[in-house]
Symmetry: C2
Subunit: 327 residues, 2 copies
């Protein structure tokens, strides 16, 4: 049987277990041009909170009763598609279920990196970090780059790339343990614990020459605090507003005027705008990873039935590294 | 005697007459390398509200007891500077006073345009409109450009340039009379009266294909309303936040997330960042003006003693066209 998690109801405020329903259904049969796959790994990502809503966003939300969306790493069990053979490892968009049929999959090479990495550092989050920082943030050597959710799948790559490209990297993360990891393992120059209650003072101390690039995954008060420290002609990459995702009343930004005063450039970042250039970025990320110049950490939840809890923890900042479900 | 207006106290909230003091002092003598001028026209601009404050901004504020800053058109009465002769008409930064000495002036040609125009359409406001729209807004033919404070010195030029460059121009202004002027005299495609109480609906009706470029002079609720109507990859030029200038509690922007969802590019605009290219823009603006392809309106207050009231009216949106004081 195929086990799947469907959207049972739309969350109002925080996501709850009751917003999901676990169902069983027969394993589907592949039609001509399709493959049947077994999902091995499911990626959990902050964007999923948006898809649970019916508010207008950059992609349509999940309908009630539909399988939750998500990227998976899967194994081909049966192929009626000329490009795939039984046993191939592929990336799919089959979402929160154990089996599925699709005609759209991407073959990956499990000898180059562990399959789950294609959901992280050599996947969507790594690409988001790469293009957001390189093309929108455009850090120059010696500049200061601040990134929020610094221990997460995107943030951890942003800061490491900033360092590799000659900038000073300052992370913002929740809690002493994450901050220690960001500094000691990932090699950031500094990491600020936003739970310390002294964000403003610590940001000032960590960025004595101000902030040139802010890669923002969280929005909210952290965003406002960093906006107030931006340098002339600084860049803000708006990649996420996770602090708002569970809020019924969006945070209201008070330092808009900083954009004028410091002639900031603030831009929204969605990874699929860069899909024509994924190859270039994956080559670079893969090579840095192989050379041991990029560190990477995963946070794994066991079993599809625990995916809802995994997403809730991710949205609450309880994860540590790239959040995955092992199926 | 030299009559001058100095900053007597910093406004808290709205500017009042009491924030200014009118003084008399002897007419100064020019030193070697200086000219003595009589100011003929004083420009009043929204940025002056910022200079009355001691909050950090892109330029230091006016000190208490100092002459209020401002650009003037002046006549040279006495010259000890090799580049200027008696009778020359010049632009200066001498501020709110009837006479002054300076070594920094720019000669203007009163035969090419009326001298006061060098404070407006062929001066700082025209340059602001030109570079903000061309370099940051980057409208393409067929796109929709919205500009707030559309009947003002900057806004009126933004919309007319948008039309000349092949875009649809939609203004936002306060009151039916200004809106009629914007449509009928300036030739915008539409103008929305933000005082009508139906901004959102009227914006939607005036921009059936959404908004590609928003040139924002006002901030506040108008900004939020336009943000919600921006198209994918739209551009926001942050040129002013006049709705906030008299506020002790800055407006908080609720639609920040639109930047992410629609991958907007939001940039701050200060005209002097473009000073190396003023010549190019003035040539273009002067030529369009001479050909009658740019319309221009002035709002004139008589006498230096009425400058404070002129600024207060400007900040309250009571002016109609470029605000000047005739000295």
């Amino acid at each position: 049987m195929n086990k799947r998690v469907v959207l049972a109801s739309r969350p109002i405020g925080a996501v709850t277990e009751g917003n999901f329903r676990i169902e069983e259904a027969p394993v589907p049969k592949p039609a001509e041009g399709e493959v049947l796959v077994r999902n091995l790994w499911l990626s959990l990502d902050p964007y999923m909170r948006g898809r649970m809503s019916d508010a207008k966003s950059y992609v349509k939300g999940v309908d009630i009763g539909e399988v939750m969306v998500g990227q998976t790493v899967a194994e081909v069990l049966e192929s009626r598609h000329p490009k795939f053979g039984v046993g191939d490892t592929v990336l799919t968009q089959l979402g929160w279920q154990t089996y599925g049929v699709t005609r759209e999959a991407t073959k990956i090479d499990p000898s180059r990196a562990p399959p789950s990495y294609y959901l992280g550092i050599v996947g969507m989050p790594g690409l988001t970090a790469y293009f957001g920082l390189k093309e929108l943030g455009q850090p120059k050597a010696g500049e200061t780059v601040v990134v929020s959710a610094a221990s997460g799948a995107v943030g951890s790559v942003v800061g490491q790339l900033a360092k590799l490209w000659g900038a000073r990297a300052v992370g913002v993360a929740g809690g002493a343990e994450k901050c220690r990891y960001v500094k000691e393992q990932l090699g950031f120059d500094a990491c600020i614990d936003y739970k310390s209650g002294a964000l403003r003072e610590e940001l000032k101390a960590a960025c004595p020459k101000g902030v040139d690039v802010y890669f923002d995954n969280v929005g909210g008060d952290i965003l406002d605090t960093v906006l107030a420290r931006m340098n002339l002609f600084g860049r803000v990459v708006v990649c996420g507003t996770i602090s708002d995702y569970n809020s019924t009343d969006p945070y209201r930004v008070r330092n808009w005027r900083a954009i004028l005063v410091n002639r900031l450039r603030v831009q929204g970042m969605i990874v699929f705008d860069w899909k024509d250039r994924y190859g270039e970025a994956l080559k670079e990320l893969g090579s840095l990873l192989a050379q041991g110049r990029l560190k990477y950490k995963e946070s794994v939840v066991q079993g599809l039935e625990n995916a809802p809890r995994g997403l809730m923890d991710l949205l609450a900042g309880k994860n540590f590294g790239k959040q995955l479900v092992k199926l």
